[in-house]
């Protein structure tokens, strides 16, 4: 069961694409070059993007569908 998914702080994101490259399932894309966005449905919560982001603007949060 996937318990977490990545979320991007859009105000900090520099849209460099390091997270896209790190994501093993292709769940991240940049929106019009402004910021990165994670497709929660695809995200497996591995945290690779979070550990790669140069600004540390990606965090793992508990999935909304896991909350009681």
């Amino acid at each position: 069961m996937i318990r977490k998914n990545a979320v991007v702080d859009k105000d900090i994101c520099v849209s460099c694409g390091a997270c896209m490259e790190a994501c093993p399932v292709g769940a991240i894309k940049t929106i019009n070059g402004c910021y990165a966005d994670v497709d929660a449905a695809k995200c497996v919560g591995c945290g690779l993007c979070s550990r790669t982001c140069p600004t540390g603007c990606i965090t793992l949060i508990e999935r909304l569908d896991m909350k009681k």
Binding site: V14, S15, M20, I31, N32, C34, R51, T52
Partner: protein, 189 residues
């Protein structure tokens, strides 16, 4: 395992670029590709596709720590990716680019050609041996030296922050990245 694309190997580009400039400084002009293409891509609605997929330097900074098994996992200090620093660094970089154009103009006007590479806009490194084609106008060679200096300086800064913090920390304040993201934000406002 993700499928490899041809652009995944573009880390070779900065290595080829600096090698060519080591033997013939005129090859420095090729660096204009890294300067013009991202702006064109962002301006025609391609977003930051250059940074995201095709930036050789970004790929090089990502691949070196992997190859050397470096454990650089520290996030850069917040000021380094703050908007003030990013746009301030862009302004500084463009000022220095303008100064380089001015130096080129002076040589065009008759000033003597300086066959040195200026690192960190301060330290003059003799680079006379790369002045191998002497038949071209002096200003073309002067621009080559100036542009190569800019490219080498920014790569060295990138390597330092790559070693100190996360691999692609340079991308957080890369002037081209800041400029193209700015273009994208204005276009999608």
């Amino acid at each position: 395992m993700k499928k490899k694309h041809w652009y995944d190997y573009l880390w070779i580009w900065p290595i080829i670029y600096f090698s060519l400039g080591f033997f013939n400084i005129l090859f420095a002009w090729l660096g204009m590709i890294d300067f013009i293409v991202p702006i064109i891509v962002a301006s025609v609605g391609g977003g930051k596709a250059f940074c995201n997929r095709y930036c050789g330097r970004g790929k090089l900074f990502a691949i070196i720590p992997r190859a050397l098994k470096m454990k650089n996992r520290k996030v850069a200090p917040a000021w380094m990716y703050s908007k003030y620093f990013r746009y301030g660094f862009l302004a500084f970089f463009m000022t220095m680019f303008g100064n380089m154009i001015y130096q080129t103009y002076l040589v065009y006007g008759g000033a003597s050609l300086k066959t040195v590479v200026k690192l960190f806009w301060t330290f003059k490194v003799p680079w006379q041996w790369a002045y191998t084609v002497t038949g071209v106008p002096a200003w073309i060679t002067q621009f080559s030296y100036g542009f190569y200096s800019l490219m080498l300086t920014s790569t060295l800064i990138g390597l330092v922050v790559m070693a100190l913090y996360r691999p692609r920390t340079w991308c957080a304040f890369c002037p081209m990245g800041t400029m193209t993201q700015g273009i994208c934000k204005i276009k999608n406002h």
